[in-house]
């Protein structure tokens, strides 16, 4: 029996789909059988981030409506035979699926796969409720800015209400800006949200490159963000991998003396 994890954030554009793709690829590279489920019905994007947009025949709504068998809708990754994508429908909307449908789908997928990673849509309405319904746990994504952190707090509250254990990925942290005092640090965000931190992903231009190419950055050894996702996957697998600490908030004299 596998494990289902929903990747959520409240706020859009903070890296849910990128995180889903990278975590899924990393887990598959560690030999786990993984299915990445695009829960963003009507606005699918996990397919294009994984570079599988040309292979879609059936989708999640087809599966739920029994227009095809589940296996027919699963797309095998080009590079990793352990990784599959269940794409979202682009022509339906969120109301095409119910939380019960998602529960049923996730339990079916958990029989076949070690990990079911669900990419949640932005917002806290129907699509969010659907994405949550079949999840055993949640990973909340935020960036160190005021609106994503505020929305993350709201989402964490809702997850607690649904009794879904959650951890946090702090995404797109700029070490330089934190050092300058112009961006909240990991400690600041932890203080505000009071939730276990699963990983810290630094701002990295390679993420844009990876999106352009449809090859998640986790495969790129020169991508700091990719390497961070690799460590996140190891932590999901129960390994004790430390979160590297970045030099933050050095005092003026310490900087001057190069300490």
């Amino acid at each position: 029996m596998g494990e289902s994890i929903v990747i959520t954030s409240g706020k859009g554009g903070v890296g849910k789909t990128t995180s889903t793709a990278n975590i899924s690829v990393a887990l598959a590279n560690f030999g786990k059988k993984v299915v990445a489920v695009d829960g963003d019905i009507g606005l699918r994007n996990l397919d294009i981030i994984l570079g599988l947009e040309n292979r879609i025949v059936y989708n999640l709504v087809d599966v739920v409506k029994k227009r095809c068998r589940t296996k027919q809708a699963l797309i095998r990754d080009k590079k990793n035979e352990n990784l599959f994508l269940l794409p979202a429908s682009q022509v339906d909307d969120k109301s095409a699926v119910t939380p019960e449908d998602m529960k049923e789908l996730c339990s079916e997928l958990k029989e076949e796969f070690d990990f079911v990673i669900i990419d949640c849509p932005a917002g806290i309405e129907q699509g969010f409720k659907n994405a949550l319904a079949g999840a055993d746990s949640a990973i909340v994504i935020t960036t160190p800015e005021v609106s994503p952190v505020r929305d993350a707090d709201r989402v964490i509250g809702l997850l607690q209400h649904h009794e879904i254990p959650a951890s946090l990925i702090l995404n797109r942290l700029s070490v330089q800006m934190v050092e300058r005092g112009d961006m909240m640090s990991r400690e600041d965000v932890e203080d505000i949200l009071a939730i276990k931190i699963l990983g810290l992903v630094v701002e990295d231009q390679e993420i844009v490159n990876a999106g352009n190419l449809g090859t998640p950055a986790v495969l790129n050894q020169n991508s700091p963000a990719g390497q961070a996702y690799l460590r996140i996957a190891q932590r999901i697998l129960g390994e004790n991998v430390e979160i590297p600490s970045f030099e933050e908030k050095k005092g003026f004299l310490a900087r001057l003396l190069g300490r």
Binding site: E145, V146, V149, R150, D153, R154, G157, V178, R180, G181, D182, M183, M184, S185, D188, D191, I192, L193, A194, F252, R255, L256
Partner: protein, 84 residues
């Protein structure tokens, strides 16, 4: 080195501290599901009650929800004078 000089001559103070302070305030209020207008009503009621015992001005009465060691705390602060 250039960065240090840029920091000394920068026009604005670092903004992360302000971000954190604003967020702590808004997040605590939202967790308690208390609105700004409810806080104003509470402030008004407290003013009425305290006025029975002390001579206070409504302007000096400060009401804030703060984080105290990870728990929300209601802080009321006011100048008091004995009633004449």
């Amino acid at each position: 080195m250039l960065e240090i000089l840029a920091n000394i001559f920068r026009p604005n103070p670092p903004s992360a501290k302000t971000a954190k302070e604003r967020l702590v305030k808004v997040v605590i209020q939202e967790r308690l599901k208390v609105s700004e207008s409810q806080l104003n009503n509470l402030k008004h009621d407290l003013y009425q009650v305290i006025s029975k015992y002390f001579d206070i001005s409504q302007d000096s009465l400060e009401l804030e929800i703060q984080d105290k060691n990870g728990h929300p705390a209601l802080t009321v602060n006011t100048e008091v004078k004995p009633t004449s």
